[in-house]
Subunit: 206 residues, 2 copies
DNA sequence: TAGATTGTTAATCGATTAACAATC
DNA sequence: TAGATTGTTAATCGATTAACAATC
């Protein structure tokens, strides 16, 4: 179960699950690899390999049973118990992230937010309690948080990351436009909106 | 100049430029490939290859002249004239994006935002005029916008993308959790925050 | 000069794609 | 059965890494 799975495969599985849940809601029972491929942007062969990786099998005539496949992916992606997430930085982007995840994923909820600005702390934003950043390490260690989202300005991101890692965080989603230096046992996913937009603008011009 | 450059290379170049500009501001004049590598998370060999791609040359003893290299990258990434960007969806995320880019990049500015909700339109948010989505095609074609950001709910993203493409847009930054189907001459960069967070949570548990 | 770095090619690696026997 | 799809392996592709002569 704790296989070595590539970054990309895990990303695709997460996407498949969401698509499958949507389809299940609309009453569809089965689909073929090429259906899921068309929905997700992957290829049918990728879907088949990814499905294989989670240990689920389909039928050559009926395809995959949607509910079963979704359940297999869930078993694979989600841990035994639900995971708590911390958010650091409650500016425009941080608040958008809070709003976005508010009550959406019960297994993966942002349970604590932190900010340096005292006007933003000691209140509840989109259902999430905001604390001063001074209590970051204490709080993260206390709750046993292992996943964090960094949405602070570039200059503060590395300091925040260091403190997170010291408190036991093992995965960071980093929106700050800075490459974070972390130990090899910590997974970092960088989302650099400026770079993404510049890429789009570049290829739009070609 | 209009070379076939990979997605990843363009992304790294965009990041290098930002790092170089920061260094230039702090008064540094030269750096070596491994310095830029350490800052960006790339390898020194990647930096050398990327620099080669933009047609700039360094010196084995001094390294790269920061200002010159930044200028070469800028010539390469930016077009002749500045590019206008449209934003569709002025919800929490859309407003965060507006705030983020507001006045930051003169060459790549969000000049028009669109939303379906009439409470959000016909006003200026973070310096950007918001229009009803009905005038999207008209406005995009009129201004000659070729780059757009989609920040609408998943269900509306494909419709919006179709209309954008019909109006002449050739690059889309898509925050909606939907795989967009577009013609092959349109570049799409998907930023799926939910998938990214699930990936981080998954690897944090390993 | 000696030494480190550059520009650039060759070797490696990993992921994607093609292919096909097994299956229902 | 005939036919399409599955599970899975082999071939392909592209990007990363290693290597090294040329350079200052």
């Amino acid at each position: 179960m704790t296989n070595k799975l590539s970054d990309k495969t895990v990303g695709r599985l997460s996407l498949y699950r969401r698509l499958l849940n949507n389809l299940a809601r609309s009453g569809v029972k089965y689909l073929f690899s090429h259906d899921l491929a068309a929905e997700s942007g992957a290829t049918a062969a990728q879907v088949r390999r990814d499905v294989m990786a989670v240990g689920y099998s389909g039928s050559p005539t009926k395809g995959y049973e949607i509910a079963e496949l979704a359940a297999s992916i869930a078993r694979f992606l989600d841990g035994e118990c639900s995971q708590s997430v911390a958010l650091i930085g409650v500016g425009n982007l941080g608040r958008a992230i809070l709003a976005y995840f508010s009550g959406r994923r019960p297994n993966l909820a942002i349970v604590a937010a932190f900010d340096r600005d005292e006007h933003r702390v000691n209140r509840v934003i989109h259902g999430c309690r905001c604390y001063p950043v001074d209590v970051l390490q204490e709080k993260v260690a206390e709750v046993g948080i292992r996943t964090a989202i960094i949405a602070v300005p570039a200059g503060e991101a590395q300091t925040v990351a260091d403190r997170l890692v010291r408190s036991g965080v093992r995965g960071i989603l980093n929106f700050a436009p800075t490459h974070l230096r972390v130990p090899p046992n910590v997974f970092v996913q960088e989302i650099d909106i400026t770079t993404s937009l510049e890429k789009v603008a570049f290829f739009a011009r070609q």
